[in-house]
């Protein structure tokens, strides 16, 4: 430790012998770390946005169905409203919101066109924070309640049907007994969402849909969002324990593509981290090698004066410790400031169509947990220092006499 105390200030002074080179190295390390952290924060924001958008596209974090419904989603595979045990879990602290639905394949027909859709009976208030439909209606009005028999059409579907607000459409679907049911309904609202949602869904009141499909009070789906601190797997386990005869699945199983994108995001972050690390390593090795070869005579002198080879190695490594440490600190600080500056969100309004296509929300909220900051710093700093091991070993292996003779 005494030797470290001697070498540390010496290493610091050596760093500033060539200010320009040191500043360039600091820039390389700092920009590298900044880009790793910011890229990480943006990718996570993108992944979160994609996930949130996907979950709000009628999936939720978990869903409850009758067995076989997901393979053949018709009203014959419906289930009774939650019994006391299931209702207790759904209304407990681990579930933030849940929405009961009727959801079945249907045909919607206007004067001009007939198109396949999914007829979905909802309780509008219960859809708040569970699906997009709670906030997406306009022009027109939201469904007044579960008994409202008006329908909400997507903007694009309405265009394709050549229909609009206040007009009537005909809806046909198999009822709970497998018989074709048909009724007319007035378009009370037009909703805006992603194209697949606009084209694929027609909404009406839950009770109106149950009546239309002769389903009594039976449901085809419950969608739920967990509480902020709840663990999805634990919630699923609790639900399965009280409703063992129902299919209960979380979003990773319901939306494997979203899960894949989410997992891929982590992979991208790791790839980016290594790409940037290689650039940082090249920068550090290059500058340290130059610094070592410029000081061959000095290392020879130090050895002649009684420096052990290990001290020479330590001297070069301590230079790397300081320059990489300072670069990492600068990069982390600038990344923190950048992410803080974007805490109100990064608007994607210019990319609205693309964002909709990808199921993303139109504002990204970059964020990075302090633990991720610290993990990145604790990874890059020592690895950056380790890359200086090569030039450091070269310096330690110089023969003192040969080194003193070099010009």
């Amino acid at each position: 430790m005494r030797i470290v105390g001697i070498l540390l200030p010496l290493a610091w002074r050596n760093l500033w012998r060539n200010r320009r080179r040191t500043l360039i190295t600091l820039l390389v390390v700092g920009v590298g770390v900044w880009s790793i952290l910011c890229f990480n924060a943006l990718l996570r924001a993108w992944a979160d946005s994609t996930l949130t958008g996907s979950l709000k596209n009628m999936t939720g974090e978990a869903q409850i169905h009758a067995p076989g419904y997901l393979d053949d989603p018709d009203m014959q595979k419906s289930f009774a409203p939650p019994a006391a045990d299931l209702a207790a879990v759904l209304n407990g602290d681990s579930v933030a919101r849940w929405a009961p639905r009727v959801r079945t394949p249907a045909i919607v027909r206007s004067e001009y066109k007939t198109l396949p859709v999914t007829l979905t009976g909802v309780v509008p208030d219960r859809e708040q924070d569970v699906s997009f439909i709670a906030d997406a209606v306009g022009p027109g009005r939201q469904l007044a309640g579960p008994g409202d028999d008006g329908v909400l059409l997507g903007r694009h579907l309405a265009d394709r049907l050549k229909t609009g607000l206040g007009k009537r459409v005909v809806i046909m679907a198999n009822d709970v007994n497998g018989k074709l049911a048909e009724r007319g309904a007035r378009v009370v609202g037009i909703f805006s969402a992603s194209r697949p949602m606009e084209d694929g869904f027609v909404f009406t009141g839950l009770e109106a849909a149950q009546a239309f499909l002769n389903a009594g009070n039976r449901l085809s789906e419950i969608s739920l969002m967990t509480a902020r601190d709840a663990n999805l797997d634990e919630v699923l386990a609790n639900l399965k324990a009280v409703a063992p005869k129902l299919d209960i699945e979380g979003w990773p199983d319901l939306e494997p593509m979203t899960k894949g994108i989410h997992d891929l995001t982590h992979g991208f972050v790791v790839i980016w981290l290594w790409v940037m690390f290689v650039l940082i390593a090249i920068g550090v090795v290059n500058t340290q090698l130059m610094a070592v070869f410029e000081r061959i005579r000095e290392f020879g002198l130090l050895q002649a004066l009684g420096f052990r080879p290990g001290w020479v190695l330590m001297e070069v490594l301590l230079e790397a410790v300081q320059i990489v440490g300072l670069g990492v600190a600068l990069g982390a600080l600038s990344a923190a400031l950048t992410i803080f500056a974007l805490h109100d969100g990064l608007s994607l309004s210019g990319l609205a169509r693309g964002a909709d296509f990808l199921g993303m929300e139109r504002v990204l909220y970059p964020r990075l947990a302090p633990s991720e900051f610290i993990t990145t710093i604790l990874l890059i700093w020592p690895l950056g220092v380790l890359t200086a091991l090569w030039p450091a070993r070269r310096a330690a292996r110089f023969d003192a006499v040969e080194a003193m003779r070099s010009t």
Partner: protein
């Protein structure tokens, strides 16, 4: 008197491609404590090689060296480094100082490595710099000192740790005659005052004139060994 340096049948061979160069061909030498010895000879005669072997910077191919009671053969690299740190002072032809340290810090550097406390090594460094005529220049970095002043700092550093021997390789080679004379006078005085043994490899007749014993090395052998009236 006790011998600070004893060499017996010292041989050094270098491989240069296919040929072998015999730098030292059986050198026997004893240097007593407090002597001021110069070694001269033509280029390639083995002066620097002998100095490097005495300073434990190179290993001999054959023969024995005992420095201040320590047999150098068989020392590990770290033991050689410790020997240089604690018992040998070096003054080289050029590039003697660590550029990022001030004159006082350079002088105190070996003391610092030896573990001396900050106050004592500062006191010793200032005292040595005053003795070599550099009082008031303690905070100057090597780049702010002339060549002669840098050599004086190197001498101050070499003596600050009170080594058994100071080995100087062409210390005046890069100095003008005035600076050379000043440096040599100062080294002679320090040799007398401190009793530290000096061995200087040189081409310079002025250096030889300041020493009290003069060896001439030719083709790796000691051709003459004369005491000189100081």
């Amino acid at each position: 008197m006790t011998a600070t340096v004893q060499c017996h049948d010292l041989v050094k061979r270098y491989k240069q491609g296919e040929t072998t160069v015999n730098a030292l061909k059986g050198v026997d030498l004893a240097v007593e404590a407090g002597e001021f010895v110069s070694i001269s000879g033509p280029s390639g005669s083995g002066k620097s090689t002998l100095l490097h072997i005495l300073g434990s910077l190179e290993r001999p191919t054959g023969g024995d060296v005992v420095l201040d009671g320590v047999a150098l053969s068989g020392l590990a690299k770290s033991e050689q480094a410790d020997l240089r740190l604690n018992r040998i002072g070096f003054v080289f032809q050029a590039y003697n100082l660590i550029p990022v340290l001030s004159a006082a810090e350079n002088t105190a550097f070996i003391l610092q490595l030896q573990g001396m406390n900050a106050r004592e090594r500062r006191r010793r460094a200032f005292e040595m710099l005053e003795r070599v005529g550099l009082a008031g220049m303690e905070d100057r970095r090597p780049g702010q000192l002339s060549g002669g002043q840098q050599q004086r700092v190197a001498v101050a550093r070499a003596l600050a740790s009170r080594p058994a021997i100071v080995l100087a390789d062409e210390p005046t080679a890069n100095l003008d005659s005035e600076n050379s004379d000043e440096l040599l006078t100062m080294m002679s005085e320090l040799n007398r005052e401190s009793g530290v043994t000096f061995i200087v490899a040189t081409h310079d007749p002025r250096v030889i004139a300041h020493t009290r014993r003069h060896l001439v090395l030719t083709d790796g052998r000691i051709e003459s060994d004369e005491s000189v009236a100081a």
